[in-house]
């Protein structure tokens, strides 16, 4: 086997590895994180005009403007 391939061979079995609890990495594993809240609310009354729900296209410039306004108001 060429020398460059030597590093490839594992010195462990993955099956065994999976049985051993791993020390936590620097970040909380994705599966242990709080899941995003998918907010769904009942409408007070049925909305027959709901074919076009309000859309909020977030514009970064608007966000900055809002932030500036907040700062100005302080």
């Amino acid at each position: 086997m060429p020398e460059k391939w030597e590093w490839v061979e594992p010195l462990f079995e993955f099956e065994a590895l999976e049985m051993v609890p791993q020390p936590p990495a620097g970040f909380t594993p994705f599966g242990e994180m709080e899941e995003p809240d998918v907010r769904v609310d009942l409408l007070v009354e049925d909305d027959p005009e709901a074919d076009e729900p309000d859309l909020e296209v977030v514009d970064e410039a608007d966000r900055e403007d809002e932030a500036n306004e907040d700062e100005d108001s302080v």
Binding site: W7, A25, F27, E35, L42, A50, P53, L55, E56, V57
Partner: protein, 398 residues
């Protein structure tokens, strides 16, 4: 279904709805013609609107396709996916039949979401699309993915549930029916909300997460671009990689040598495949191109390209419609009512709303109706428990 119903629907028959139902069930015109005992040319005439089917034929269409009679009557025009505007990946492997089935499911998904939004409020669509040119550099896309993470209040580190994250930002997500695995995920901008359709890959969590992030990239960057372009696919891949594995975190996390235990641990932490981690390591210059290639060769030899070690459990499932129906249960609004509102079969609504794994009534075979092999429950073909394209076709071929 009554004879009167068929007589009422026949004069106001909607050709587009026939075509959509046929494509969803995976019939060619000739196959459907054989089912309903007319010529293939007749089916074409019905779909083109050059001829209207008789009440008896409408009844047969309803039974053969498992769609309620009311589905075929005119109403609000069905919003169709413009196939030139949907971002598909690896569709070359999928048959025309599978593609059309997938498009139809996307259209049904949007219809169902529309019906639900008359009764519940979904999350506001929180997106800031941008235009990314075909020659945009990777760094530009990296930066954009970083901005999206910030706009969506994601802290440093892994992304939690990607499907729910998209739903929480107003994107509707659905999963394709079983055995359509040659169709990859795709996304489409419907008039009011984008829809992401994920492949049926319930056992592969990492693939679904990456696919969802990939489609987010398309929705944000390529709303006006012509889909199918290899460069756009590459850009969406770069976006997904940067979104799920930000450079500022991964630079210190990824090993510079092929340290498989560390890669496996990172897979568990970040919810991405080892292959994606390696690709990311190459993109960030942490490993060299030859090293990357050797790693992929190594993985291929061990069949890890198809089945990686370190299973992360079942794929993330869409929840938004399920949650809406759960809330509506307090008003005695059920999945049957949603099927009535959309005129869709219950099996389609259940699939789209990711209710298919819930308890459902047992299948019964009503031998006394037209299309005697049709499994039905209850009062109409709307209730037919037809689960997916292949089983529907298989059933009909028996």
């Amino acid at each position: 279904m009554s004879v009167d119903d068929a007589h009422r629907v026949a004069p106001i028959f909607d050709p587009a709805r026939l075509e959509l139902a046929r494509k969803y069930r995976g019939f060619t015109k000739a196959e459907l013609a054989e089912e309903i005992e007319v010529s293939a040319a007749a089916v074409s005439q019905y779909e083109l609107g050059y001829a209207k089917p008789s009440p008896a034929v409408v009844a047969k269409l309803s039974l053969s396709l498992g769609f309620p009679l009311q589905w075929f009557s005119q109403g609000r025009p069905v919003v169709r996916v413009d196939t030139a505007g949907a971002h598909f990946r690896s569709l070359r492997a999928a048959s025309q039949r599978e593609r059309e089935h997938a498009f139809a499911q996307a259209e049904f998904t949007w219809e169902i979401a529309q019906a639900l939004e008359r009764k519940v409020r979904f999350p506001v669509l929180h997106m800031r699309p941008t235009k990314v040119s075909a020659d945009a550099e990777g760094a530009h896309i990296e930066d954009y993915a970083y901005q999206v993470r910030r706009a969506w209040d994601l802290n440093r580190g892994p992304v939690p549930n990607v499907v729910r994250l998209l739903e929480s930002r107003g994107i509707v997500v659905t999963r394709l029916s079983a055995d359509t695995r040659r169709v990859d995920a795709f996304s489409y901008h419907f008039p009011t909300r984008p829809v992401v359709v994920l492949a049926d890959d319930k056992a592969n969590k990492t693939r679904g997460r990456f696919d969802a992030a990939h489609e987010l990239g398309h929705l944000l960057m390529h709303s006006d671009a012509e889909p199918g372009n290899r460069i756009l696919e590459q850009q969406a891949h770069t976006f997904a990689g940067a979104f799920l594995m930000p450079a500022e975190d991964m630079t210190s996390e990824l090993p510079s040598k092929l340290d498989w235990p560390t890669l496996l641990q990172l897979k568990q932490t970040w919810g991405v495949s080892i292959a994606a981690l390696l690709y990311r390591a190459r993109t960030l210059g942490i490993i060299s191109e030859p090293t990357y290639r050797r790693a992929i060769t190594y993985m291929s030899k061990r069949n890890w390209r198809k089945e990686e070690p370190g299973d992360l459990g079942p794929a993330e499932q869409p929840t938004i419609m399920k949650k809406a129906l759960s809330l509506l249960a307090s008003r005695n609004y059920t999945v049957d009512d949603l099927a009535d509102a959309t005129r869709l079969p219950v099996d389609v609504v259940r699939l789209v709303a990711s209710l298919q794994d819930d308890d459902r009534p047992a299948i019964q075979f009503d031998e006394g109706t037209v299309g005697s092999s049709l499994p039905t429950i209850g009062r109409s073909a709307r209730d037919a428990q037809v689960l997916d394209l292949p089983s529907w076709r298989k059933r009909n071929s028996n």
